[in-house]
Symmetry: C2
Subunit: 336 residues, 2 copies
């Protein structure tokens, strides 16, 4: 049995769902993996940098009781020093242009000798190469399974199950928000109603234009290209078009034709070792690998040298699924 100090950097919906999940799965973690844990740090813009080397009571953390009586550090360095984490879950919000402050967070976490587990795709676009080197140097893991396809395995799939394959290209349906808006238009209702549905389901970024204009999907394409193809693709290099130009008439005609619109992200190796990448509305047949990805579901289709096509689809993921992606990373980081 080994005891791990865990910290939460960012404690919004995903962080809280993860805390609940750790408690719910604690017997399994103990029995199957010999893993016990305590939460020695929690930090967010709202609550500051709280540390407790004896471990917080997780129920209290989740109950929203003010934690002002706890010792608070001034910054991440002091916080990490006080909390002595073995692993930190980084779930602060995304800045797609810079990946900050998450990149600085991950660097500090690895420097402090802890595993860094993040759901932040910006980190992968703007800092992956540097941080992967740092993680190796420190003998710690940098893991990020929840960053692209929620809890569905994508990065661990390639890392652990598909040795010696070459990824030639992929297509993905990465945005529930645009999916829901298009389906609302198909049903004859308004763009705004579709967006409202997505926002109520909690699948939309704080700034909805990140979804609508395809930024979110673009950042995911770049994250995948960086990690799985080792090509430092940047968002500006992706040919990007959002869904604002899709009218009722267009989407209903496409649906009637049996080829509904979806916001599809694509990347393909070109002859010269570069990547051609697009994010744009495309008409997709029901028989397409992504043809049955509807509503809040997400999917990715890979073209590999060893397999003509491999598709992973995550159907109606929820907050617990996203949290599970982070939990799986933690277990994979520490299991024998």
């Amino acid at each position: 049995m080994k005891q791990y100090n865990l910290c939460f950097l960012g404690f919004g919906n995903v962080g809280r769902a993860l805390a609940r999940l750790l408690v719910a799965k604690s017997a399994e973690l103990r029995e199957q993996y010999g893993v016990e844990f305590r939460v020695t740090g929690v930090a967010s813009r709202r609550i500051g940098w709280l540390a407790n080397s004896d471990g917080f009571d997780v129920a209290t953390l989740l109950s929203n009781v003010p934690l002002a009586e706890q010792s608070s550090a001034d910054n991440i360095t002091g916080w990490l020093k006080a909390a002595q984490p073995d692993a930190v879950f980084e779930t602060t919000s995304l800045n797609p242009d810079s990946g900050q402050p998450a990149i600085d967070h991950v660097r500090a976490i690895l420097d402090a000798g802890a595993h860094a587990i993040t759901a932040n795709k910006g980190v992968l676009v703007h800092g992956y190469q540097e941080l992967a080197v740092l993680a190796r140097k420190q003998g710690k893991r940098l893991l990020f399974e929840a960053a692209v396809l929620d809890s569905a395995p994508v990065f661990s799939l390639f890392r652990e199950t598909l040795p010696a394959v070459k990824l030639r290209g992929f297509s993905g349906l990465f945005s529930s928000t645009t999916n829901l808006i298009i389906e609302t238009l198909e049903a004859g209702r308004s763009f705004e109603e579709g967006l409202k549905t997505a926002q109520e389901l909690g699948v939309t970024e704080t700034d909805a234009s990140h979804d609508i204009d395809g930024w979110d999907a673009t950042v995911k394409v770049c994250a995948l290209a960086n990690v799985l193809m080792n090509i430092p693709l940047k968002p500006a290099e992706v040919n990007r078009e959002g869904i604002r130009e899709l009218t009722h008439r267009k989407v209903q005609a496409a649906r009637a034709e049996g080829k509904p619109f979806k916001l599809i992200a694509r990347a393909k190796l070109t002859g010269d070792g570069k990547i051609a990448a697009t994010v744009r509305p495309e008409q997709i047949l029901a028989s397409d690998p992504l043809g049955n990805v509807r509503g809040t579901s997400l999917g990715i289709h890979f073209e590999l040298d060893m397999m003509p096509g491999l598709t992973i689809t995550s159907h109606r993921p929820n907050l617990q699924s996203t949290a599970y992606g982070l939990l799986a990373d933690f277990i994979n980081a520490v299991k024998e």
Copy 2:
């Protein structure tokens, strides 16, 4: 760099494709995984138990030149002793009723201190529990990724990427042959034409009734239940119905309705810790997780406690894909 002795037990289409693939990927194996290999044994009903401790010339093995001048052992024990394998690829043909002789092969391989890599799903149904214990005792791996969904990761997915999940049930489309026959009937052509197409594509078992009557899919359901749910489900416990009763009229009406027939395998945990399992033709909507699995493609949909639904689809796998499933097992067995 480490040199591995590899042996082929069974040297039909899959074994030969694997030998070609090992040669094609040898530079990658060396550079990425520090793995070199030589083939020190090859055995089949036709060629006997050939061993060569210096390593066979793989091109010669593949060229069908008679290998009579090579030293031949009397049986598997003598063969393993002469060939001294680190890993053996077991690809002999399936006996769905007993899993033999593959189970005896795998036992002998593990007893000889080698990793056992098999594509034989019968082994998992009739011998998994015993052989898994033996593999642990010997400190060797028993791997079988190609047994169910060709090269698409299923077993390694759960083993390596989805820790601490509970599998509640699954549905699968495991039989290209029945898929192709049904699609041929939909197109107004005959059952026999569909079967002939499947046979020409090389996706049909030697005894086609294994596919048509759902035995093949049934054995796969049992293999998955044994390994992923740790429940020793046997073929006789699966409620099985093949596709012989599907007439032109039935399948064309179903297709016109937008709910074509497919031979679907299902298993679901029941309250009492047992499994309810079926293999039968079902009408499936295009929006179903398996709705876009057509032709020679295969798919499986998992229901997990941590995710509402996760689908893996392998599109148009070929002989090289199957061989890759075995190669991936080998690399996963020996990589650090």
